[in-house]
Every structure is written in C-alpha cells, then in structure tokens.
Symmetry: C3
Subunit: 345 residues, 3 copies
C-alpha cells in the first residue's frame, strides 16, 4: 500500500474568516471538494462540495437559512451533511448524505479537520494570538502554489536559501555561518538562529534604522502538518535584544498556513504581523515588500516541481544545511505512519 | 469487454445544412474524425478526415469537382472514400481507401450514419417538419458542450430542474407538482406534463400575454440516441388548450440534436420554432432568451462533468423525479446491448 | 525492450552561437534538460539543467566565472559537472555531480553530443562552410515544432509535397515528373533531381529573372540524425547550369538542423544562404518568403501529429514518391539499432 499523502487527523487552515459568508465558497482541500458557508448565526460550516444525487458542486447552489440547496434539483443539506429535503417526494432515503467536516474559527482563520471527526480537538490549534490582537499590525495574502505541500514547507523552514533567493531583503550571509539550534517536541519542531553583531537582513535593518552591525534573530515553530510561525527581527548590535530588550529593534511574526489542495498544488495563507509602528501607513507600505519576497519562494518551488514532474526518478543528495527541513519531514512522516497504523488497528 | 459508448447503427446530426459547402468542414463525431463537403451537384459527402498515406486531415486539402484532394501530397478520394489519384504513379494500390459514411440532408440538418452502411435506413430519421416549414419561425444555434452526451440528454429530458436552474423563464413549481405521463415505444420515449390552471412558465406567459393562471404543457419525444423534440407552451387558463384549441396561447417546438464528439464532449444543434407571430421581429428578440436558458443547462452539466471526472467513484443516489431520465437511459442502453449482441452474432 | 527513440552517439545542434552567453540558457534536448552558457574565455558549456541537491533548474541561477551557481542554495558546478562548492560545509560529497555534455562551436551553431563522451568526434560534424563564409548572405530563424522529429525530417527530404504545400514558391510540377537519384553512404543519404528545360520553381525564377523555361536543380545531403543541406536553384534553360556554369541563375543552400526536444516536439534551426547579390537588401527581403514557406511545412506536420496522436493505430500506406524519405528512415533506424547492439555488447 502506498503511504498516504496527507495527515488526516489534524487541523488545516481552510480559509481566511473574511472569505466565508452566506454565499457558498468552493475550495479543494486534501484532494476533496469542500464547500464553506455560514449559517444564520454566523457559524462556519464545511461540507463535501458534491450533491449525492447528480454530483453537482453544492457551491453552485445557495444557502437557505442554515442549509445549502443544490442548484440543479433543489435537494437541501443541513450542516451535518444530511439531506433534509428532496423536491417531488416526502421521504429522504438513507444514503442521501454527504461528508461534513468539523470547523473552528480562530485567529482570523477558519480551520478544518478532514479526518475522524471524533478525534477533532480544538486544543491542537496553535496559539497565534498576534493574528487578531490590536497590538499587532498585519499584512496578509493568499497564494495558490503549484507544488507538493512538503516542498513548500521545506522552503519556509529553510533559511539557507535567503542569501541566494532574497539577497536584498531577508538574505544575510550570517544565516549560513550561524548553525541553527533545533528542538524536537512530540508534535512540533522549533528552530533558533541568533546572529549577534553581524550584518542584519536588509529589510529589518531598514525598518529598525540600524546603523552598522545588528543583532538579528530567526526563530520558528513548525506545527505539522502545515502551520509555521516565525519570530524574526533585528536590533542595533549590543542593545540587549537577545537578553529581552527588543526596544532598539523591530519584531515581526510571520505566520504561514500551508494546506494541500491536491498532490501537486498547495494553498498558502500568510500573515505578517509587527508589534511596532502599528499605525504607521508608510511602514505598512515599506513592509509590503514581504509579499514579493514570498513570491520569490513560489518561483523556486514551482520550478523545482516542474523538474521533479519531468524527471521523477533523478537522484538527489542532501547537504549539511538541510538538517532542520529533514527533521521536519521526518516528524510529519512519523505522524502519518502512526495515523496509518492506528487506523489499521 | 467494455460496453460500447455509442450506438453506431443510428442517425446522428452532423451539421446544419448551411455549414457544409465546397470548402471542407472538419468535425469529430463519435470519436472519429470526419470531413464534410458537397459534390458539384450539392450532394453532401462525409469521409474519414485522415489521408491513408501520411494521416493528414483531408479537411486541410481542397474539394476538386466531386473529390477531395489531400493538401500534403495531392492524393484524391472520391465520395465513396476510394483513392482515385496518387501523384507520381499510375496504379492505386488496394489499401488506398478511407471510411465513407452515409449522409442524408433533411429538415435543415445533415444526418450521418456511423455504423454499418448496409443498415442505414432514412425512415429512421424523425419527422421534424417544422424545422423547414414556412409556417414556423425559428431561432437556432450550436453549442460545444464539455460533458458526456448522456448527461446532456439527461438534463434535456428532465424538467424538474427548471424551477432551480431557469426560475425566471421556463421554471414553474407546477413541474414538480404534476407527475409526468411517460410512454415507452420500441425506439422512442414520450412524456407529457399537463399543468392546468396553474402559474405558467414566465417565458410563455409573457409571449402569450396570459393574465393570472394558465394552462401549460410540456411534451417531449426522445428518439435515441440523441434527438429530442419538445412541444411546449401555455394558454390562458380554461380556454381549451388541452382540448385542442391553442389559439389563446403560444406553441413552441424546441428540437435538440445531441451528437457525441468524444467520450467527454458533445455537439448540440438546436432549433426553437414557433407557430405564432412568425413575422414579428420583436417576438423573435424576446424569445432569444431561450439561448441563455439553454446555456444555463450547459453550466450545470459542465460543472457536473468536472466533478465526476475528479471523483469518478463517488456514489450517487436516484430520486423519484428521475424516472423519465432513467427510462431514457435504459432505452438507449438496451439498444446498445442489442447492437453489440447483433454484431457478435 | 522498446527501441530507443534517439540516436545518442551523434552531434545535434543545440543553439545558434549567438544564443549562448554568460546568462544561462535552458533548453530541453532529447528529453533531457540542458543549461548552456560560456566560461570567461567564451568556451561554450552544456550541463544537466538540474541541481543534484533539490532539483532546481540551474538555468535559474547565474554564471560565476567558469562555474554556474544554483539559484536556490548556492551550490556551484564547474564545466565538467562537478560540484565545487556547497555553502555551509567544507567537503563536497562524492555524488554531488551532474551530467556534462561535449559541445563544439562550428558554422555559427553550437553542437552537442548527448551520448558516450568518449566517442565524441568533431570530424563527424558536416562541413557547412557557407554558414559563416563572407561569400554567402544568410537568412536564419528558429522554429519550435509540435511533432516527432522523424516526421519533420520526412517533410524536409520530400519534395513531392511542394506542388501542393508551396505552389507559389518552391512548387513545380517537374518535381513530380522527374524521379530523384538517391545515393546511400555509410552515414549519409544523397538525393538529386535535375529538371532541365521545364517550369522553374517560382521563387528561383523570380530571383534569377528567368524568362520562360529554366534548368532547375534540387540536391540534398542528409546526415542522420538531424542535419540536412540543400543545394537548390535555377538558371535560364540551356545556359550550362548542369555542366557547371551557374552564372545565368541563382544558387541557394538551405541548411536545417532538426533536434528532438521531446518525443513530440522538435527544435528547428535553419539558415538559407545565397551566393549571389549578397549585399542586395531588396533581394534579402524578397527571399524572406522562405520563412513563410518553411512555416507551411510546420502547419502540415503539426496537423499530422495531432491526427496520429488521436488515432495512433490507424493504418497508413506508402506510395512510390516516398522512397527517398523511407530510405532516410531506414538509415537512421539502422544506426539506432547498431548503437543499441553496441551498448548491449
């Protein structure tokens, strides 16, 4: 049996909360068609986007009260996925049902659980409080990326590409000189790079008005399968940033939700949050370059994906700087193995 | 052995008669490439659109007299598909031949027989006299539809979708309340819905200037594999339309020729004919909304086809209102089975 | 085992020399991704266009001195394909290498050898001296053609299509009347058609200002797998062109390099060279119609390829005029067979 491609018993980000309303939203997630909408009281609902009668996407229909009506023959389904009305007949037959998925709205994102609903535990959603805190100003966007989700997680967790892919913004050679400190947990991987008294990344140096050397940091927490938070920034060298005083620098939290669409395409929801100059529109403009930086990553992984698709059997090697991303791959692989063994038992 | 996808010994509409002239017309029908043209006396000809020499489509060549000349090396084929000239040599070798198909021009359409030519019987072409009668005014068009032809026949024969897909034109709730009367024949299926003293379909109510309730009707005759005629309309309620006096209403005959292009794409030739206000250009304009209505069907079946292609094994259920379309599917399926058994014998 | 699609131990044209510089050029050749660039002294280099680390196309990186640097993580490769630098570590592991291909720059073209490098012999490159001689004026271009390379070689070696595909330029009925004289060599096929005192091809008749009848010639030399030179032209009839005096006519050498990109797409590099009116810009303009003529061939082979892809099992016949192209196919087929037997031994 082929190894499953996705971890099922886990939360994935399905949408920004602002994307979902009383108009149905169609989105493919983990190779399954999903329709998202809100009931009358605003509760988000996620159902299989396929009528059990003639396979029409329910997202082509309309929300009526708390139910969704198929646009072809008018069958209606409630939030549990049960058909509650079939025009032209009184009884609803037993098989008239579609999949329903647990959803939770948190931190401005709508999270979906595509595995066993009985195992859905809201406590597994990471604490990303800065995403909807008034103390943080945010820039956010969505990318549709043409690669396998694992390759996209790789590039996020790998800072050694920055000097080559983002030389004018996030890149600094210190990322290559300073070895990362990686910590494994049961369902998380943490990584820290502290780069004291060195050239700071150009983007943070400019935002923090650093003159000469800086103390810069890059810390991330990966929660498999697909969410990553970055605590990044820089301060004037020797002003105590690594000891807790970041007031002479800038702190940014970049948060990435990477959700497989199919085996070859990926949703990327991201938010860049800052805890300084929150009201400063000029600073917001200045930091919008982060979108361009993230798109440089997209160029890389899409080109990589095209080559791998054309030459799937070509051998590759690993190098020393890969060890954080390899640990992340191993963690996710272990969780998928455990889930397979658990469902086989 | 997989069941054949198409009924071969049957007439299909290949083109409107106005599409075919002395310039070759290329069209794929039942997964076969066909070139259509007229000989000097105007007789339509259908040949395999592939030179037996180097596989060039003959439709890229030109008609010379009663023959067609390949545009690559000048081989010429007559209306029977026999090669009659090969430049550079005197004799034509025995295998130099391509398929030729019986064609008949009738009712403004050119019909083709893709099966055993010996069985081609013109009497099997339905009587659609209104298509070229001066007593009827017509609107017509062609759609290229990205779905399996059976799904497209389904939506034509199914009126229960009208209240959901065409609410402002053909839809009326009576179509759901009134059960259809279905009659089976050897090679036809007939269906009738009479909806007395009820809300008439908006499109006919407007054309007939009905005030309040109407008597409306929807009758169709399906001739498998792919032609359907509709006798539809409405009259002021209680004026005798069901007893034979339609003078207080309007009658429209919609005629559909649904011809498979491939297993996933379909040709749709259609004509909407009316027996009232034939010279009234404003009425013609008013009724052109029928094109938009038919395109609403195309949206449905193409979305359905995309879902089925993505999830071919997803289960579906049938409901009560499906019974006319299921009978039509069964009729065509039986004819395909009979044809297979007959050719195996 | 399926027969290999390509002759490997042979020179193919990879690019015009002007296409290659210090910016990397990506090109797929014989189903393999290749990156082309020049070292500091201008020597052309061809490497596998795929980093051995994370499969990124090296063509997205940059040339640094004599090496190419991957745009993702900065690995550097020399002209032999050996990795010479991996950021973040001192040693380069043994498998860190990519394919390198022999290349030779000659006649304005860059030739590549995709087979066993030990067998690469520059003497096998044909003598196309007119391509960079000051005595010849040239027009050149590149086409990307959507067909199998063999079908494209066929149409070049076949003049019997000219009266049908190029009736106003290269076509003349004499090409059908005069049988070609074909000569076989170990690794070449030669063909000559001399058409005395006949209607000359319109394009040469106009260039040579021939009045009435002409003596025209069409000679070609095919060097498998993919290069062909044509010596074509016409002179006023009876002025001794066939005896060696072409001063009363015009001589053109068309040279074609046909290199497989994949099994279904082909690179076509071509040059049309003339030994008359070299400085005459009006004549250059007049002869640019040759580009349109060559594109008429592209139309043919691409239509043929679409038909063959749709109906791969449809039978075809050969005709008398095919014998030069069939001999060319047989020659290439024999060389591929020999190469397979040689590598199996």
């Amino acid at each position: 049996m082929d190894k499953p491609m996705f971890l099922k018993n886990s939360w994935y980000v399905a949408a920004f909360d602002t994307e979902i309303g009383h108009e149905p939203l169609a989105r493919t997630l983990l190779n399954e068609p999903v329709v998202l909408f809100r009931t009358e009281d605003g509760t988000p609902v996620a159902l299989e986007d396929r009528c059990c009668h003639r396979a029409l996407p329910l997202s082509m229909g309309k929300v009526i009260g708390n139910d969704i009506q198929c646009g072809y023959h008018g069958l209606e389904f409630d939030a549990a996925g049960d058909c509650v009305k079939i025009p032209g007949q009184n009884a609803v037959p037993p098989g008239a049902t579609i999949d329903s998925y647990p959803v939770v709205e948190r931190w401005g994102w709508v999270w979906i659980w595509m595995g066993d609903p009985a195992k859905a535990d809201e406590n597994q959603i990471p604490d990303y409080f800065w995403l909807d805190s008034p103390d943080w100003a945010t820039i956010e966007d969505y990318f549709h990326v043409k690669c396998h989700y694992q390759a996209y997680i790789d590039i996020q967790l790998d800072q050694t590409h920055s000097p080559y892919v983002h030389p004018d913004t996030l890149g600094n050679a210190a990322k290559l000189r300073v070895k990362p400190n990686v910590t494994r947990e049961e369902r998380a991987l943490k990584c820290e790079r502290l780069m004291p008294n060195d050239e700071p990344p150009p983007l943070w140096a400019k935002a923090a008005k650093i003159e000469g050397k800086g103390d810069s940091w890059n810390r991330w927490v990966y929660n498999p399968p697909g969410t990553i938070m970055f605590d990044v920034g820089a301060a004037q060298a020797g002003t105590g940033a690594f000891e807790g005083d970041r007031s002479h620098g800038v702190t940014v939290h970049n948060t990435h939700a990477i959700t497989p669409e199919t085996g070859t395409t990926t949703h990327h929801f991201w938010t860049s949050a800052r805890s300084f100059a929150q009201e400063d529109a000029a600073m917001t403009e200045q930091l919008k370059v982060i979108r361009k930086v993230f798109l440089e990553d997209v160029d890389m992984v899409e080109a990589q994906a095209r080559t791998i698709a054309a030459f799937p059997d070509a051998p590759t090697i690993d190098v020393a700087m890969d060890h954080p991303t390899i640990q992340a791959r191993n963690l996710l692989s272990r969780l998928i193995d455990e889930e397979r063994q658990s469902s086989a038992a």
